[in-house]
């Protein structure tokens, strides 16, 4: 072992110093770097987004209860190192002089909120500013709508139950205020020390208690494990940062899928470059192996020497990769620090593990076949240079590299389906590319006969080495294709996100608009040059039965046993609208839209498909709602898919107007008011005091911010993949240059002019580049179609522009790399060239 280690170390040291390991080392470094940087970055981003989600519940976890919980529970949480906070909420009328309004009353302790910040504002509907303060005893913070409704201002007093409290601040937002266009009352925040004095929480009143917990996730989990057996489903509800189904959540989820895909592609690219580089490494060591065997080295010794050498290379590659990867993502994080709130100063073991695993797998599995070949070189090669490795099995090579790729995909994605789809389509792709290559080479045959021009020489070479070239062509094509896939996915996705929130996205919603106010509002909007959306009629109804089968109305968690008998219900009152026009972003997936209803037919209703699935509503079911004292009965005639990513009011249930002809409707709509005109809002809305106004700018800003940060991350990944792709191309050109060396030397010796040889080589690469680019564009369409339909759930689209861009880019890049490679070779004089051949 000592001998093999010494020899391996010596060979490694010299070769590394002489730059002969550069490509293989770079390939390993790149795979480790990209994997580490990508996964570390996405982990940190994800952590930041989780923190962000935590802000929506003002804690990492929340315990909601209808009665106060035992003090021991809270003590236990504190003992386990968790931070706790408390909120008690109820609905109550509040009074100011003659004015009164129903308010959503929240009394909090000073620790509230554990995550996120309370926002306050100087004037009603003004810009919210974060504050660390919380209401002191005797104070009350009320929101802009309450200010409007009660006609009070800061400094005035209001009556809350039996207590008289002073309005101290204007509340803009609390982290867990929730967001709903419907169903919200203006909010009031006060100190929990005053709640006794209000006498609002006595027997018979409907009061909710919220206990907030924050800390390490392991601590929270263990606390929940302790707490769970003591919880009563009827009373308590534990809430954690759950899957976010909001537009933000979906954007982030899609971005994560993209990260995953891009990282997979980056790994595959890096792996391909390792394979190419390892092949070259192996071929360059045929002679040393033959020499060592001739000098008496056993197979075992040779094996050890090279395995140890590969380990050295891998180790160095991994160390460099980890260092560079870490520095790189630190740099990116530092660069983005102002715009992207990624969590800082954290070290995650998972990305490190993945990176090391990737480095080891790539380096070992992809160099295994070249190494086996190397081991099989017979000593007789010292006498006869034409004797190569005795092992030559493409099947073995494909099996080895194929399983390495699949293993990496599986390990990295943890998703068998995605891995299988990608892998299978990869195989189909490679096979069709092989077919296409042969076809093209055949076609080129005609061009390759004739005089000795640069083009003829180029084609002749391509034709002669059909197999070698087809492998090269395919790898060029695959590389270009992978780059295209990542590029196009990035463009499509970022575009889609931006489309979600175009300039002029409504930033105010208004509800409770009466029929008589509607025209006045429209006139006011026109007068003030404000763009507004459709007015949707709304009525709130209690969903009572499906096909005469009663449904329960109590809120229960889906995965818990029913708290009451009866079918699964909506859990809250339903917002009903009615129209014969199908709303934008809605698509009928079953049945027919009710725009041609005939008198005498049952009254139709259209149901959103996901809610239909959840409540087990089927086509033809008869649904009953109680609206006020009336009963509405309608038959399900269509199911709709809704694009929830649009920021417009969307409805689970859309009735035919016939059903609602006897009801007085109120309307909701939304409009856009530029940031600079925000101060006008009070005067614009003043004549319509009973209308409820929601300012969603904060929410939109938040979505924009997240989209921006995710887009930036995607950009960063694109760059990494591009670098990986470039490296593969360089490795491939480098490898093929070695093959070309002999031919160039001979042509040169025979007196062919350097310029002609150069042009013929460049032309050869140009041809390969164009063909590879074209094949890549074709393969790109196929892969994108697969990805868009199967993985990203996006509408598939054609990308004709790349049919032109890809061949040109392929020709330019591959041609340029080829030119650089052969310039270096041809600048050597003939004797050096011949000596290099020996």
């Amino acid at each position: 072992m000592g001998l093999s280690f010494n020899l391996a170390w010596r060979l490694f040291k010299h070769e590394a110093r002489r730059g002969e390991l550069t490509i293989i080392l770079l390939a390993i470094v790149l795979s480790v770097t990209s994997v580490l940087a990508l996964s570390l970055f996405s982990e940190r981003l994800q952590q930041a987004l989780t923190d962000r989600s935590a802000e929506f519940i003002a804690a990492d976890s929340q315990l909601r209860s209808r009665t106060p919980v035992p003090d021991a529970w809270i003590e236990e949480a504190k003992d386990r190192g968790l931070k706790t906070a408390f909120q008690i909420s109820t609905r109550s009328m509040v009074f100011a002089g003659d004015e009164l309004a129903l308010s959503d009353l929240r009394a909090v302790d000073t620790a509230y909120p554990l995550k996120g910040k309370i926002k306050i504002t100087d004037s009603a509907f003004g810009q919210g500013v974060k504050t660390d303060d919380s209401p002191q005893p005797g104070d009350v913070w009320i929101d802009s709508r309450l200010i409007q409704l009660l006609r009070v201002d800061v400094g005035d007093v209001i009556e809350v139950g039996d207590a008289t409290l002073r309005v101290n601040r204007i509340l803009s937002e609390i982290p867990d205020g929730g967001f709903s266009v419907f169903n919200t009352d203006p909010m009031l925040l006060m100190s929990d020390a005053d709640i006794q004095a209000t006498n609002l929480t006595g027997a018979g009143s409907r009061v909710n208690y919220k206990y907030y917990f924050a800390g390490e996730s392991a601590d929270i989990e263990s606390y929940y494990d302790w707490l769970r057996p003591q919880l009563d489903r009827e009373i308590h509800r534990w809430r954690s940062i759950a899957d976010d189904d909001s537009p933000i959540g979906r954007s982030v989820q899609r971005a994560e899928e993209f990260f995953l895909l891009a990282s997979l592609l980056a790994i595959i690219l890096a792996a391909v470059s390792i394979a190419v580089a390892a092949q070259r490494f192996s071929q360059r060591h045929f002679d040393p192996v033959a020499i060592m065997k001739t000098l008496g080295a056993s197979k075992e010794l040779v094996r050890q020497i090279y395995l140890i050498q590969i380990c050295f290379i891998t180790l160095l590659g991994i160390l460099l990769g980890i260092t560079i990867g870490y520095v790189l993502q630190e740099a990116v994080v530092a660069l983005l620090a102002d715009s992207v709130p990624v969590s800082l100063n954290t070290w995650y073991w998972r990305p490190l593990g993945i990176a090391v695993f990737t480095g080891v797998t790539c380096a070992l599995l992809f160099s295994l076949y070249p190494l086996l070949q190397l081991f099989s070189v017979p000593p007789l090669r010292v006498l006869r240079k034409d004797i190569d490795a005795t092992l030559s099995s493409r099947a073995l090579q494909f099996v080895l590299s194929g399983s390495a790729v699949f293993l990496l995909m599986l390990f990295y994605s943890g998703d068998f389906e995605i891995s299988a789809i990608l892998f299978a389509s990869g195989i189909v792709l490679v096979l069709s590319l092989i077919g296409m290559t042969y076809l093209l080479i055949m076609l080129g045959r005609k061009l390759g006969s004739g005089g000795m021009g640069a083009w003829t020489l180029a084609w002749a070479r391509i034709r002669r080495r059909a197999m070698g070239n087809s492998v090269q062509l395919i790898s060029f094509a695959l590389t270009i294709m992978l780059l295209l896939v990542v590029l196009v996915m990035r463009n499509d996705m970022v575009q889609q996100w931006r489309d979600q929130l175009p300039e002029g996205t409504p930033n105010y919603f208004i509800a409770n608009v009466t029929e008589s106010q509607k025209d006045g509002l429209v006139a006011s909007f026109d007068e003030n040059n404000i763009t507004y959306e459709n007015f949707y009629p709304v009525a709130r109804g209690r969903f009572v039965s499906i096909n005469d089968e009663n449904i329960r109305t109590e809120i229960t968690k889906e995965d818990e046993e029913p708290a009451q008998d009866g079918r699964q219900g909506l859990g809250r009152e339903a917002n009903l609208t009615w129209s014969t026009v199908l709303q934008n972003g809605n698509e009928i997936v079953d049945g027919q839209w009710h725009d041609n209803w005939q008198e005498g037919d049952p009254v139709p209703i259209s149901v959103e498909d996901e809610v239909a699935q959840r409540l087990e509503i089927e086509m033809g079911d008869v649904l009953t709602f109680n609206v006020g004292s009336e009963q509405i009965v309608a038959t399900v005639t269509s199911l709709r898919k809704i694009d929830w990513q649009t920021l417009q009011p969307n409805f689970f249930f859309v009735l035919h107007p016939k059903a609602m002809e006897n009801f007085q409707a109120t309307y909701i709509t939304s409009f856009h008011l530029e940031q600079s005109r925000k101060s006008e809002i009070s005067s614009i809305m003043a004549p319509f005091a009973s209308v409820t106004l929601f300012d969603v700018d904060a929410r939109i800003d938040q979505i924009r911010e997240i989209i921006d940060q995710v887009s930036l991350a995607v950009e960063f990944i694109l760059v990494l993949v591009l670098v990986a792709g470039a490296l593969v191309l360089i490795a491939q050109v480098q490898a093929s240059m070695d093959e070309r060396l002999q031919e160039l030397a001979i042509l040169r010796t025979l007196g062919l002019k350097g310029s002609r040889i150069r042009f013929s080589v460049i032309n050869e690469f140009l041809i390969i580049g164009v063909v590879a680019g074209l094949m890549a564009a074709l393969a790109n369409e196929f892969s994108l179609w697969l990805l868009q339909t199967n993985v990203f759930q996006m509408p598939p689209s054609l990308h004709i522009e790349y049919w032109g861009i890809a061949p040109v880019a392929g020709a330019v890049v591959v041609g340029l790399l080829g030119a650089l490679g052969c310039w270096r070779l041809l600048s050597l004089n003939t004797s050096t060239l011949l000596r290099k051949m020996v």
Partner: protein, 237 residues
């Protein structure tokens, strides 16, 4: 005076290769022997089968029939591993294209066989022998930094470091100009004489061949003893 022991002995040695047109016998049955300390040249035109014979004698290739004994050991019965061990213990090599490991320095190349054979102090031995070939100032250069003549002197040092009983040389001066050839030949024969090594040298250079005690001619796969003195152009012996 007792007869020196036999170092190489072949009995009806044949070699066949498979070609697209069937099996081709490239060595006719060859039987000859070389005694210990003898210097023997195998001469013949290109493609006559000289290198094939050398490959078989050195155990680099497998025989198709017949027997080879190297220092009494039946090479024809051994597998590749056993042959490699035997080479490491008893055989040195010099090649036309030098066959130095490009990523090792001159000194490390020389050390290599001693290390493989597990000898003590390979470095001290190499430092000693590199002086004998006059290249101590080039010890830490890589092969591509040396001239052809220098590379072959490194190869000679490498061949002798284990003090092998038997040395095979395949066209040792084939890639060198005449001045360098002379230097390398002189060195080779001097060290060979010093160590009393048995030398089997393959060449098509009659002048070089004539420096050996015995000459064998290979012609179309047949080996015959040369009895007439070789005609050597001016400058030879």
């Amino acid at each position: 005076m007792s007869t020196p022991p036999v170092m190489i002995e072949t009995k009806s040695l044949i070699k066949k290769v498979n070609t697209s047109e069937g099996s081709l016998q490239i060595l006719q049955p060859i039987s000859f022997s070389v005694t210990s300390g003898e210097t023997v040249a195998i001469i013949g035109a290109s493609g006559s089968g000289k290198s094939t014979l050398l490959g078989l004698l050195a155990g680099l290739d497998e025989v198709s029939g017949g027997e080879i004994f190297l220092d009494g050991k039946p090479l024809h019965d051994m597998d590749e591993e056993q042959r490699a061990r035997l080479r490491g213990e008893k055989v040195g090599f010099i090649f036309q294209s030098f066959m130095l490991v490009q990523s090792l320095t001159a000194l490390e190349n020389i050390m290599l066989p001693a290390e493989i054979a597990g000898l003590d102090n390979p470095k001290a031995r190499a430092e000693n022998i590199i002086k004998q070939v006059g290249l101590e100032h080039r010890a830490h250069h890589f092969p591509n930094q040396l001239s052809g003549g220098e590379q072959q002197r490194v190869a000679i040092a490498r061949a002798f470091i284990t003090e092998p009983k038997l040395l095979f040389a395949d066209e040792p001066t084939g890639n060198l100009d005449s001045a360098n050839s002379q230097k390398v030949e002189d060195l080779l024969f001097k060290m060979n004489a010093d160590l009393e090594t048995t030398l089997v040298l393959v060449t098509h250079d009659d002048e070089l061949a004539s420096r050996c005690q015995r000459q064998l001619r290979m012609n179309a796969g047949e080996l015959t003893e040369v009895t007439e003195p070789l005609k050597v152009v001016a400058g030879g012996q």
